[in-house]
């Protein structure tokens, strides 16, 4: 067993012990605990849980590599995935928390109709499932590299850990475990990044220092036949960049596993601050990622460029074994580098290995490599757990009890069905993770477009426009989804590569959202307004307290005795 394997085992074993311990302490006995953690999660902890929930294997493992190869245009992910939280915090989170239900479909069900609820529950399950398969796969890849285990075995181990705490503890167990997982993943991300920054620039804060290598990086990139690193719009035209960024942002704000986290706070105010803490915790990693990407690319270009194939550093050989680094058999010295095998470059480096291989590339000691492996696992598992909860709550709460049992069930029965649905979701996720359906990789990228064109518009209209009715929402959601899906299928399969105005399938979600808004508004106007009682409920949603304290508006620090009947 190598040093790296030894330390990987140590860190993964230690971190998993902590997760299981936390899960055992926070097991739950009632459905409110299972679905929304009894709405008793402190704000900062909830923020950390949202961050862990959000930052998946893709954020931890792939993003820095993706940015390294996209250069300037990589900002669509950085900005899209963080800017979405501004929309979430200002437009959705506080109001949905005030509405106070268990699931996203439940809100649209109450606000509009049972039909809308069913469509939404189906969309939530579909989106979450495509996502969770990717997470399981990501966890499997980490295991297979560091422990020399087949990917299938890695997926099995990851599921065996998630299973007990998700089934036992539901949202409560998942949330507290995610807090621990955030700590592990951010430590694992920042330590190597700081070390690399220190090596290159003698200053350990990568966010500040990576500007120093940009000039040389631009020069090196051009030398190797790549685009200049800081040059904008090399990968996509300007209009498309605009639309993709917007689609990723509103998709982020519309993803059910993110929205659901704002139901778990104690109050409306807590939901607002949770969004702040969540984005702050996310920003720690997302502002580091472009620095890691720039340093890693610089390192690779400078370290490998012009080197003879038989004199390449050790890490190249280690990663060649996983198939994620490929050396062109016809190459003698490395003169071109790419992240796509189809380019036929002398060496092909997969996006996914930059973060995982970075400590090795920079020559950091074995314990750091082990820590990074544990961090990658934490990122994959925390996101998988959050998604599994959405799947199980939509299946049990929105389908089974609403459609089949029609609300006629005891607390025990509800909890049991919730747990069974969770167990079923884990099993399906394992099967999907071991044999990923071919479409998954593509669908994950497009899940944002689908979320953007379905959930976001009707939730925003539901909160801010009382006049929006069930017919409008159903028509808007269906037409937004249909429009987006049709364009994606047309551009990807029917006539591959063709676009209208250069709009890529990733960017079409923005247009789909506009279609959804327009149809929902048009149909609502043409049909009768929602009932007066519902209008009053929507009105109530806008004010945090259940009732107003009768106090003069100027009395800021009103005495406690003047409390209303909250």
């Amino acid at each position: 067993m190598s040093d790296i394997q030894f330390w990987t085992l140590i860190f993964i074993f230690l971190s998993f012990t902590v997760y299981i311990g936390i899960a055992w302490r926070s097991r739950v006995k009632e459905t409110a605990g299972f679905y929304v953690a009894g709405q008793g999660i402190p704000t900062v902890a909830n923020g950390a849980a949202v961050a862990a929930d959000w930052m998946s294997a893709a954020s931890f493992i792939s993003m820095a590599g993706l940015i390294a190869f996209l250069g300037y245009d990589g900002a669509i992910y950085l900005m899209g995935w963080t800017g979405g939280y501004v929309l979430l915090a200002l437009l959705l989170a506080p109001y949905l928390r005030k509405w106070g239900k268990f699931t996203v479909p439940e809100f649209v069900g109450d606000r509009y109709s049972e039909l809308v609820r069913t469509i939404a529950a189906g969309a939530a399950i579909l989106i979450s499932f495509t996502y969770v398969v990717g997470q399981m796969r990501g966890g499997g890849i980490v295991f297979s590299r560091f422990l020399n285990m087949p990917v299938a075995g890695g997926v099995g181990v990851a599921a065996a850990i998630i299973f007990p705490y998700a089934v036992l503890g539901g949202m409560k167990g998942i949330t507290w475990t995610q807090v621990a997982q955030y700590t592990v993943l951010i430590t694992a991300y920042l330590i190597p990044a700081a070390a690399i920054s220190q090596t290159f620039t003698s200053f350990p804060i990568p966010q500040i220092t990576f500007g120093q290598v940009l000039d040389e990086l631009n020069a090196l990139s051009i030398e190797f036949g790549l685009n200049s690193y800081t040059q904008p719009f090399t990968e996509r035209p300007q209009l498309d960049i605009f639309l993709v960024t917007m689609a990723v942002m509103i998709g982020t704000a519309g993803l059910p596993h993110v929205i659901i986290r704002f139901y778990t706070t104690k109050s409306v105010r807590g939901a607002r601050y949770s969004a702040f803490w969540a984005l702050l915790f996310i920003a720690l990693l997302y502002s580091t990622a472009p620095a890691v990407g720039a340093f890693a690319k610089f390192n690779i270009l400078e370290g490998l460029g012009g080197t003879a194939v038989d004199e390449l550093p050790d890490w190249v050989e280690n990663w060649e074994a996983t198939g994620l680094v490929i050396i062109n058999p016809e190459a003698d010295t490395i003169e071109s580098i790419s992240n796509r095998a189809a380019d036929g470059a002398d060496i092909t480096v997969d996006n996914d290995i930059l973060v995982l291989a970075n400590p090795e590339i920079a020559g950091l000691p074995a314990p750091v490599v082990g820590l990074v492996a544990a961090g990658g696992m934490a990122a994959a598992m925390s996101t998988a757990a959050g998604l599994l909860l959405v799947i199980s709550s939509s299946a049990s709460h929105d389908f089974y009890f609403r459609r089949i049992k029609k609300g006629d069930a005891t607390e025990r029965e509800k909890l049991l069905v919730g747990r069974l649905a969770m167990a079923g979701a884990v099993v399906i996720a394992v099967i999907g993770g071991i044999n990923p359906p071919a479409f998954v990789a593509q669908v994950v990228a497009f899940a944002f477009g689908l979320a953007a064109s379905s959930f976001f518009p009707i939730i925003v209209l539901g909160i801010f426009w009382k006049r929006c009715n069930a017919k409008g929402a159903a028509a808007g959601m269906v037409s937004g989804l249909a429009f987006t899906a049709t364009y994606m299928i047309w551009s990807l399969y029917i006539s591959p590569g063709s676009t209208v105005f250069g709009i890529s399938p990733e960017g079409i979600g923005t247009v789909g959202a506009l279609v959804n808004f327009a149809v929902a508004i048009g149909v609502s106007r043409a049909t009768p307004a929602p009932p007066a009682q519902l209008m009053e409920f929507i009105e109530e949603m806008r004010y945090p307290a259940a009732s107003r304290r009768i106090a003069p508006p100027t009395a800021d620090q009103a005495p406690e005795t003047e409390l209303g009947g909250a």
């Binding site: 940015i67 300037y72 990589g74 900002a75 950085l78 900005m79 963080t82 800017g83 939280y85 501004v86 929309l87 915090a89 200002l90 437009l91 500040i208 500007g211 120093q212 290598v213 940009l214 000039d215 800081t230 904008p232 300007q238 960049i241 605009f242 960024t245 109050s267 409306v268 105010r269 807590g270 607002r272 601050y273 969004a275 702040f276 984005l279 702050l280 920003a283 997302y286 502002s287 472009p290 009105e539 109530e540 806008r542 004010y543 945090p544 307290a545 259940a546 009732s547 107003r548 304290r549 106090a551 508006p553 100027t554 009103a558 406690e560 005795t561 409390l563 209303g564 009947g565 909250a566």
Partner: protein, 101 residues
């Protein structure tokens, strides 16, 4: 007294006022959000890239660093301002002891 305040309050003018001020705050913050995320790095990037600070062309910096920091600050400002607004209109949430939730 809650019966008189829930929906049947004779003077619901405060609701309109509260909502209007909430919307105004939102509009300002979203305008900043839009400027940073779409105007700076997509429309004005070439001009901003002429300025280089600590090795970063400014347009590039906004795209990969600055915008993220601005987003964090926007949410914090929103939460703080809404806290004040809630207290001013007496709709802040408190537990039985009168402590803010």
């Amino acid at each position: 007294m809650s019966e008189t305040t829930e929906g049947k309050d004779p003077d619901n003018g405060w609701r309109e006022e509260y909502w209007k001020r909430n919307l105004r705050l939102m509009a300002i913050l979203l305008a900043i959000w839009f400027t940073v995320s779409f105007v700076f790095w997509i429309l004005l990037v070439e001009q901003l890239n002429q300025i280089v600070i600590a090795g970063f062309p400014l347009g590039f910096w906004f795209a990969q660093q600055g915008s993220i920091y601005v987003f964090v600050v926007l949410i914090l400002v929103y939460a703080k301002r809404m806290d004040r607004l809630d207290i001013e209109f007496g709709v802040d949430e408190r537990d039985q002891n009168g402590d803010r939730l």
